[in-house]
Symmetry: C2
Subunit: 461 residues, 2 copies
């Protein structure tokens, strides 16, 4: 039997784990600096918690867990009925009542509702956990992948938006990703556009079309709008909307005039202005705080109601690496009305790919082991075990090759493992109570005693 | 609809996550010091990878994932056939071909076999991930829980055993868990006992019975052995085995003489002696290296073949909090013969409970936010946003209460969140460019400017 893993899933070898942990740790450190607290929810949720929250397509992609004990003869009748339901595409709690987490937002909403009496609001939480989707796997798309979200619930203040945008800056700055562009828009302006067109019911059609401007150009957008049932006059209005360019102040002023007929749009414009101002007050000399107002930005998820944002890098061709926005009534799904939320998400898998392509990981990530002692002289074992104990006590990760083997084989092992130093204790070294320490990068060797090796390796890179 | 989570699963609120992360981080730091590298495997494995590896009971407790697209009419016939199989207790790949990870050892073996051509052997890995079992939930037993394993594969050296035992010491020492007792035994000695009794086929019965000595006493063990088919003479022999006490040297010498008839037992005794000697050479002044030889220690899992170990604390009544041992042919299950492995496991949930009961967590774990600025004076917003930006740049986690609200409400919030300092900027402070900083623990207040608050909070606990 030749073992394999399910399509769309991955093993993460040590180097992969270290690189991913580096990304997650960097981001979580920034989340904590801004007062966000860690939350973890179960991998399984009740199927009723998840169904109907992600649209029909989402429902179809949820991984359901088979109930156990289906061969129980007492339940056979119900189980058979459940089978018939499944054949017609319906879920049945007699066959499956649990499912794997599909995102982190619905479990967060569920958590807030369940813990509403203990939570201090506003509640800021971050969550970094895998989610599962039965999508067709393809390059960059997996069936098990990580999400990394920060959300605050229970506050209407735009300070939250400003801080979340700052978190993007700070995190990508710390990760060293160049060319970061943070775009913002407001769903209220998009709603206002539809309103001013006299087609508020076509807002979704309008946003889907203009969202594609980058890809299909202005002519393509016009064609799509026509197909989606907008009149020539409406399309001319939308074209003038899309034509608004220039610096942020001029852009917002022109938009305020174009959408003068919509109170909703005016509120959206004011919110954008205020968010930008607050964000600038948070600025930090370490990072560029420039935000890009992009009136074509739409974000697919339908629950956003206010400011929306999307992050990309100009350094690599790779869609968005983060996004988010405000949603006015997320916990309403679970019966708790009137709590506003705003959040952002980091696209960990794409960030991983960007950082790999640009080689942005610190060199020291390759291995934590700094020295390995070869095992060539049986008599040296007690001395070497004493050395590694002393090194570890000083916080230096150390190994002793456990089996007696050919010197060359052990050197190759050290090399393959990227361990920077090899310690050699043969009979001469043993007699003199010293270690020959070889730097694997340049071949240099030196003889050191126990105290000296601790001192040397504490400082060595 | 009142939301809930599946039985046997848990939400981990911020404080829980911080405490668990503290435990996992402490243990992984020690793993890294000893050259163990992180590995992560998918939550889902092919059902064929897992089935038949954990016994009949294990097979029954594996969570299976329902295939998607079961309502596809083209597959209806196969799906119906699969239903019939499920009713008789058989798995069918047309209904379920994936399942949730049940432990970390089988995925590790599967990984090693799949990556055998790239891996540098010996391969030391640690893995800290959740596993899922459809067991009846009860106090301390969950359907989703964390395992935390370190294993080395591809080395026969007892240095590995010695180092793994040292890892237990070092990790529990760092966690501050008192009364740690590390017991060791060898499956070879247990096999030798059965051999000397003339009942090698009853080894499992003998070990199950003597494993209970603590609970049911010597009489209970004798009764159980009788019920399990051992003769009076055999039971007398086992009683003399169990009567061996004293210091380690005397114990081992006496055992060597009692089991003189078994080469297997002699090898086990030598291995115990060598492991203890190697472990003592690794000793470190920070921790007590005493190992307790316990000939009644058996460890349930049948794949162990050499040294076995179990850890507990005398400070709390709470079974074992860790265990492990050597297994000679784990990867053989997946067709790769002749690779020996040895590993240990930390019982994270129980360690969490022990540390909670003994209150062993650092005080600083409660929150990472050091200061929150109240929001009482709208004019102060730009100044406060500048302060929090400056504090964050200095690595001090800071918050600005985002909404204007009553002073008392905001103070209560700070208190509930366990935030140690509150920053107040009213109109007076704003005019004087200072912050009134209140220590929430003792009520003390002082006025500081921006540079002073950074300096003060950098040093404050």
């Amino acid at each position: 039997m030749k073992p394999s893993i399910p399509t769309g899933t991955r093993d993460f070898s040590p180097g992969d784990v270290r690189r991913r942990q580096y990304i997650l740790k960097t981001i979580s450190t920034v989340f904590e600096l801004y007062g966000y607290q860690p939350l973890e929810t179960p991998s399984m949720e009740n199927l009723t918690t998840l169904m109907g929250k992600y649209g029909d397509e989402g429902d179809r992609l949820i991984f359901k867990i088979l109930n156990n004990g289906l061969n129980n003869p007492v339940k056979a009748e119900k189980t058979r009925a459940a089978f018939e339901n499944v054949l017609t595409g319906k879920n049945d709690p007699n066959l499956t009542e649990r499912a794997l987490r599909y995102d982190l937002t619905i479990p967060f909403a569920r958590y807030v509702v369940m813990h509403q009496n203990d939570l201090a609001l506003p509640f800021r939480r971050y969550q970094m956990q895998p989610v599962w989707r039965a999508d067709s796997p393809q390059r960059g798309r997996y069936r098990e992948f990580w999400q990394c979200d920060a959300d605050v619930v229970g506050s209407n203040s735009l300070i939250n938006e400003a801080e979340l945008l700052a978190i993007y800056r700070e995190a990508f700055n710390r990760l060293g990703v160049p060319g970061i562009q943070v775009k913002i828009n407001s769903r209220k302006i998009l709603a206002g556009l539809a309103e001013c067109c006299g087609a508020p019911e076509l807002m979704a059609d309008i946003t889907v079309a203009i969202d594609k401007l980058d890809k299909i150009g202005m002519e393509g957008v016009e064609k799509e709008l026509l197909e989606r049932g907008l009149t020539e006059e409406q399309i001319r209005f939308i074209t003038s909307y899309l034509a608004i360019k220039g610096d942020t102040g001029a852009q917002l002023a022109e938009m305020a005039s174009l959408l003068a007929g919509s109170d909703m749009a005016q509120r959206g414009i004011t919110e954008l202005q205020d968010t930008i101002a607050l964000h600038n007050q948070l600025k930090n000399k370490d990072w560029d705080s420039q935000l890009v107002v992009d009136f074509t930005l739409a974000r697919g998820l339908s629950y956003y109601t206010g400011i929306i944002t999307e992050v990309s890098t100009t350094a690599v061709k790779m869609g968005s690496i983060g996004g988010g926005g405000r949603y006015d009534d997320l916990t309403g799904l679970f019966g708790l009305k009137g709590l506003s939320g705003v959040g952002i998400s980091f696209g960990i898998d794409r960030i991983y790919d960007v950082m790999t392509e640009l080689n942005l990981y610190p060199d020291t990530l390759a291995t934590s082991t700094k020295v390995i002692f070869v095992n060539i002289e049986a008599e040296a074992a007690p001395a070497i075990l004493g050395y590694v104990a002393r090194l570890r006590q000083a916080g230096i990760a150390s190994e002793y090759y456990p089996d007696k083997a050919k010197f060359d084989k052990q050197m190759k092992y050290a090399d393959k493992r990227n361990i920077p130093f090899v310690g050699i204790v043969g009979s001469d070294e043993l007699a003199a109570s010293v270690i020959t320490l070889k730097d694997m990068r340049n071949g240099e060797q030196k003889k050191l005693n126990a105290a000296e090796i601790v001192d040397f390796l504490s400082k060595a890179q």
